[in-house]
Symmetry: C2
Subunit: 193 residues, 2 copies
C-alpha cells in the first residue's frame, strides 16, 4: 500500500499496525483512465474512494450545463457522500481529470470497520466532520463571496490546480463564464505587479 494512503489514514487516527492492516484489506484498488467515470448521476455511490495518484472532478449537469462542484487529488477522499450514506441515487458525476488510481471502501465494508472498535468509529466521525467543514465552507463561499475571492481560495487550496484542470471547469466551479475568469486572472496578475 502506498505511503500516500497510509499517511492519509494515520493523519486522522493513530491506528495500530493490526488496525491499519484491517483497514487496508477493506480498500479495493481501481484504475481510471483520464475521463473515465467513477460515478454517474442516477446510480448509487457504492464506495468512497481515496486517491493514490491523479485527480477527480465532482460535477452535476444543470440547465446551464456542467457545473463543477468539487475537485480532489492525492491523499483526499471523494465520493458522493450523501448518496453513499443514504444509499439513494446520486445527482452527480465523478470523472477522472487524468489517469488516476483510487482505493475504494464499500458501504458494507465501512460499516464492518465501524463495528470493529471505537477507533474506527472515531475515524468515521472525523471524516464526516472534515467533509462537513469542507462543504460548509463551500456553501458559505458560494452564498457570500464574489467569484474573484472564491477563485483565490481555490488556488490557495490547490496551488497547482491551473496545471491540472481545464479552465472551463474552474469557471463552472465559480459559477462564471470562462471570459470572466480570464478577466479575474488578469486583474489579480496586474495587482501583483
Amino acid at each position: 500500500m502506498s505511503t500516500t494512503i497510509i499517511n492519509a489514514l494515520t493523519a486522522l487516527i493513530d491506528f495500530s499496525d493490526a488496525e491499519l492492516a484491517e483497514f487496508m484489506e477493506a480498500l479495493k484498488p481501481r484504475k481510471l483512465k483520464k475521463n473515465d467515470f467513477m460515478l454517474e448521476a442516477g446510480t448509487i455511490c457504492k464506495s468512497m474512494a481515496i486517491i493514490n495518484t491523479g485527480g477527480l472532478r465532482y460535477y452535476s449537469i444543470t440547465e446551464k450545463g456542467e457545473q463543477s462542484n468539487w475537485f480532489a487529488f492525492e491523499g483526499e477522499w471523494l465520493g458522493d457522500y450523501e448518496s453513499f450514506l443514504t444509499q439513494q441515487p446520486s445527482l452527480h458525476f465523478i470523472q477522472a481529470l487524468e489517469d488516476t488510481e483510487i482505493f475504494c471502501l464499500s458501504y458494507d465494508d465501512m460499516q464492518k470497520l465501524y463495528s470493529k472498535g471505537i477507533r474506527f468509529e472515531r475515524f468515521g466521525r472525523l471524516i464526516a466532520e472534515n467533509l462537513f467543514i469542507s462543504t460548509e465552507r463551500s456553501r458559505h463561499d458560494l452564498a457570500n463571496l464574489p467569484a474573484d475571492q472564491r477563485y483565490l481560495n481555490l488556488i490557495n487550496r490547490y496551488p497547482n490546480i491551473l496545471k491540472r484542470i481545464q479552465i472551463q471547469h474552474i469557471a463552472t466551479y465559480l459559477g462564471i463564464q470562462p471570459q470572466s475568469l480570464s478577466r479575474i486572472r488578469r486583474n489579480i496578475a496586474s495587482k501583483k505587479n
Copy 2:
C-alpha cells in the same frame, strides 16, 4: 428532561438508560428570550444546542445585509458546527426567533462523552453525517435550484415556517428580495387553483 430531547437523542442511537443519563447530565439548560443571541460572529461557538421549545435562526452579515443560512426548531441541533469543531471564531449569528429553551453540550463535555464508549462515538458520527447531508443539500440547492424551488423545499421541510419566521428572513435565505418572494408565493398559489 423533556421527551422532545429524549426522542431526538434516541432517534439516532438506542442508548441504554445509563448512557442516556450520562448524556443528559452533560446537557446544560439555557433559556433565550425572542431576539436573544445564542452566538455572535467573532466569538467561538463553545456549545452545540438541541432545541426543546422554540426556534433559532442562523445567519451572517454580508455586504448585502443579513443573510439567513439556516433555521432550526424543536428536537433539532444547532450551533456553528465548524467554529465548534475547529474552536475558531464564528462568522455567524444565532438568534432566537421566539422565546426558546435549548440544552447545550460544550466542546469539552462532548469529547468526554466520545471517550466513554463506541455508542457515543457512533452518535457523534451520525450527527456529523446528518449535518453533512443537510449542508450538502443546502449547497447543492443554492448552486443549482431557482429560488421558487428552494422556497418549496423549505416549506416542505417546515410546513409551518411561514407562521414562525418573518418573511424577510425567508427572502434572505433564498437570496432574493421580499417582493420577489411575494411573487413566487402568488405564482405557487395560482398554480394550485
